[in-house]
Symmetry: C2
Subunit: 340 residues, 2 copies
DNA sequence: CTGAATCTTTGAATCGTTTCATTGGTACGA
DNA sequence: TCGTACCAATGAAACGATTCAAAGATTCAG
């Protein structure tokens, strides 16, 4: 077990000064081809790998960006993470990923860790109230971009998706199919996402004179909750049934679909057109492929990095512009709302 | 934007030497209560946060462990990751997470990054052939533990799950229910996991005189692939049908289940008992809750960290013992194989 | 009161980079 | 031939922590 080679070892081996080795690494243009070759060969022969701690200590900042998400298991975040990593790589940064798991304590631990690591900046989908901590970070020159959460005040940049627009899109689609008796299935409206999606749907319905929207409360956002709503629907008499159902997320929609499929009384999409939200992988492989609203996760991740870069680039004196970028979701039509 | 306070600022503010501040941080017992109080107060007032780069430079190693998984979106890995993070936190380390996404280039980038960061050790589910790189790391005192992959040679520690045992467990369960005409549904047997699970199933069947096992090849491991296998089954005459089906993973099983449910000719579990593998979240909320084989993901993650710690603790001279820990999976019985 | 033993505190040296003022060379026009 | 640019290469200083030998303070037995 041999200690790693340092830049000094490389310098000795290549018979140049340490500063020259550093230049080869960081400003290749400043070094003549001959010298560069010698140095690169020495690096290769010694298997030299730059010690990032030393570089960072001298440079005063790292090349890493902290990213704290609510749940890496959630495909939405997985996709955001991957896009952020790719975007960061393009600008020469690496992403340190933390999963808070909706736990404020874990979240706080990650902020500690990232602060000790002197990350350049922080992307976060906050669980708890972290504004105090973010204020301190900003004061020290570490900017934050909120992800999937509109900044309360205008103090932070943020990227989010317009859930109201998504709700409108879904309801509008059902209306365009000629459906008029719509139902919205969604968990507690205290969840902002659910409330916004409902509001968007109501907006769409209000635009069509003879259309109505019924709200079916669900207990949570799971397949099982969806199934219990579906079971209620199946028991209704035909004249009481909606002809278009919009679920606040795909899991709910899959649950509703399972109920209807099991009972074999109501057909999708003929009797009831069904649309979900999120466009999870399972949507396409459901018994009846499910229409859904897709969120531009790649754009979210990429833009979050870009906003961060903007703040990092802006000179200290100039107060950085905080920008709130809001994306518009997209309708994905499949068989569950197909046909006239 | 004020620069962060350094240990020197703290020392000045508390009117002590820098060494004393360091001692307060690292060896509190060596410092008198009075001094400690003053220093802690200064730390608080200045909002001092230790610069990990400097500590690491001096200490020669970091307090982080690199973890590279094939796909953070896969619940299996998500769970492993979380367990590893928790276990690492207990011993005062943090985990740097990398997602290779089955891409050898990304994997290699993460190894580079982690090497620059001078991680203490590496946990990895390898995609490409990384043995050369791992050898170099080990030579430099950075041990590796393979995750979900048995080490080819005896050069590395590893944690994995016994897929043969899992296959045996599943088939045995169907046999115990009295089923005799079994079928195995699984993707290309070039995938080690699939081959092992099949082999385990064959072992179980061989133990029961009048039992048989038919192998149904699937194209991939998706819900859709499962559905196409299910469609084939539905078209068969009754005397050609299996009465127990074991799928190499839950997605396949869900696809098969959808086919049977749609056709409404065959009932689960009465006509066909169905069992999957992995116990994903969707298994419990399927139309008919799906029996499955659960892998001890938490134990995997925890043990991987423990094996790494073992190698780190063993003195350099003593050749570290490489241990291959193999876990046994667990049967989870639900409605899809319920009843006599 | 003295000397030894123990407990605290000190501060210079060190880790491996990057930075930058300085030096040494080379080329070119006058 | 000289002076002026320009280009490459040099190497000491600095970043912020930890370490450790040494100094200083305190305690206590005799």
């Amino acid at each position: 077990m041999s200690r790693s080679a340092s830049i000094k070892d490389v310098a000795t081996h290549a018979q140049v000064a340490v500063g020259t080795v550093s230049n080869v690494l960081n400003y290749p243009d400043r070094v003549s081809q001959r010298t560069k070759d010698r140095v690169l060969q020495a690096i290769d022969e010694l298997g030299f790998v730059r010690n990032d701690a030393a570089r960072q200590l001298r440079a005063g900042h790292s090349r890493t960006i902290g990213l704290i998400v609510l749940d890496v298991g959630n495909p939405f975040f997985t996709s955001v993470v991957r896009a952020a990593e790719d975007a960061a790589a393009l600008q020469g940064s690496a992403v340190l990923l933390g999963d808070s798991g909706h736990d404020a304590a874990r979240e706080s631990n990650y902020i500690d860790l990232f602060q000790e690591q002197r990350v350049q900046g922080l992307l976060i989908s906050p669980v708890g109230d972290v504004t105090d901590r973010l204020d301190i970070l900003r004061e020290r020159g570490v900017p934050t971009v909120l992800v999937d959460r509109l900044a309360d005040e205008e103090q932070y940049s943020s990227v989010s998706v317009d859930d109201d627009a998504g709700g409108y899109l879904a309801a509008r689609h059902l209306l365009d199919l000629g459906r008029r008796r719509l139902a919205f299935v969604g968990g507690p409206t205290t969840i902002r996402q659910v409330a916004d999606r409902l509001q968007g749907a109501q907006r769409a319905v209000a635009e069509v004179p003879d259309a109505s929207l019924e709200v079916l409360d669900s207990e949570g956002q799971t397949v099982l909750a969806g199934r219990s709503v579906g079971d209620q629907l199946v028991r209704r008499s035909a004249d009481q049934l909606p002809d278009g159902v919009f679920c606040a997320n795909d899991l709910l929609a899959l649950g509703v679909m399972q109920s209807l499929a099991m009972m074999h009384k109501l057909r999708i999409p003929e009797d009831i057109a069904l649309i979900g939200y999120d466009d999870i992988d399972f949507a396409v492989s459901a018994v009846v492929p499910l229409s859904s609203i897709r969120q531009p996760t790649e754009a979210l991740g990429r833009t979050a990095i870009e906003l961060l870069a903007e703040e990092l680039d802006s000179p200290d004196s100039a107060q950085p512009r905080h920008r709130a970028v809001i994306f518009t979701p997209e309708l994905v039509v499949r068989q569950s709302t197909a046909g006239a």
